[in-house]
Amino acid sequence: MLTYFFKRCAAIVPVLVVVSILACGFVRLLPGDPARMMAGPDADAATIEMLRAQLGLDRALPVQYVTYMGNVLRGDLGLSLKTKLPVFQEISLRYLPTMYLALAGMAWSVLFGVFFGAVAAIYNGKWQDHTAMLISVSGISLPQFWLGLLAIQLFAVYLGWLPVAGFTGKWSELVLPSFTLGATVAAIMARFTLSAFLDVLNEEYISTARAKGVPERRVMWKHAFRNALIPVVTMAGLQFGFLLGGSVVVETVFAWPGLGRFMIEAVAVRDYPVLQALLLLYSFHFVFINLLVDMVYALINPEIRFE
């Protein structure tokens, strides 16, 4: 087990390295002089030169990379071009709202996704199956921002049940945005749950149980469902990355004070230090979540470990 863990860790290191090189070198890809860009438009020549030396832009590329990564590991992500505050500080302010949103979205998607998928599997072939699958395909086809606008229209403007936008710490504000975010993933989860469920239902131990005379309900619940859950749970973990990505759009629709909206604002004003840091942050999240999911899956499914 431990060897598997180390093997997987070793495997993600090159990915992390490449990702960090991309994020670091991101600014160099821009047309023009990076130091000028980072110093901001109202900096004078002296400041630009100072920044150039500080960032090591006059040294060789590998050295630059090492310096940058060294800074990152120390928590120094540079200063925002717009506010001149440390990027680390700006990010930590917005981290939690996005996490709340993503986790709540995950909750919705698992709840709805697994439910619809299970229904479709149990009633395989009947109208519930087709309806569930149609809903699922619709979920994938709905643009998240449109769903959000419609949800605001219905639940906030016309019915007045929920707040429209913003986040001041109240739970009610989390409902609409997280639902919107989770809807697409719910659709994906439903399809996946269905096929996982069906796969399990075809297994031998199911027919054995049935042959033994175990009541259908128990077969479904105790054997099929629980075994199908394993791949479903791991799939859920993988979808977390998708949720983080989708949060960008949802946060914009709901004026949510999180990382997603921060990223869009940074793009609008070309705040490169912030963008660099966010790219690093997001990609490291995905890589580590994938690792985590792999580990959980390996824990549950011993076959994988010995490949």
Binding site: V15, P143, F145, Q153, L198, G245, V249, M263
Partner: protein
Amino acid sequence: MTDAKATPFRIAWYKFKQRKTALVAGVFIVLLVMAAVFAPVIAPYDPYATNYGLSMLPPSAEHWAGTDLYGRDILSRILYGARISLAVGLTSVLAGALAGVALGLISGFFGGFLDGLIMRTSDVLFAFPGILLAIAIVAILGPGLVNVVVAVSVFSLPTFARIVRGSTLALKESLYVRAARSIGASRKRIMFVHIMPGTLSGVIVYFTMRIGTSIITAASLSFLGLGAQPPTPEWGAMLAESRDYIGVADHMTIFPGIAIFLTVLFFNLFGDGLRAALDPKLR
């Protein structure tokens, strides 16, 4: 009467026909493409023509989908928007497919270091969810639809590469290919004439499914202000304009959204049908 030959194409077509939803979706897609192509002819108004006196009118006989904030006819804008969405969707996936197929073939066929490099890079691209990668690319290149196409094709790339690589690996060892090699066919010939066609079914399926995602991503980017710029009649951009008028002019939110939804839905259903038809293992 002669027996119809059970060619692979015929079998696929038969299976495809069985899924009615896919068939209906296919018909709608054809209609959509025609609407897009003939938009200049069908559209009742110039999509860019403003008419400040007719701001935000609800649907009526003169304007079937109503007018937007600046008095422009929404139906005409939706029709022209179809051109944009389809063009962007198809082009970006095509670009991604071409690049992905090429890389996948090379990767699977040659193996070794090249394979490792290509697969690691696509792992990296996998590490980002599509829209973040797209935003990063747009942040570098600047806003605009062309850059959106570039961004979307980049994140479609890895999966195409993977699919093709997988098929290539399998086909490399097949009897068919070994026979070709034994008679001295050149590597290039083997790759493109013998292996590639075998990978196509997987590519085609994924291709159709990607179009839906591409259209939504392009619309999302435009909604965020990073894609199509005003006054381009792109569906996502139209939804961005409608945001402040929810409760005041709801038609501005509903019609462009329905357009995106239905288009993507049809492509997805069509893709599902294709998958069922071409891949016997799946449900």
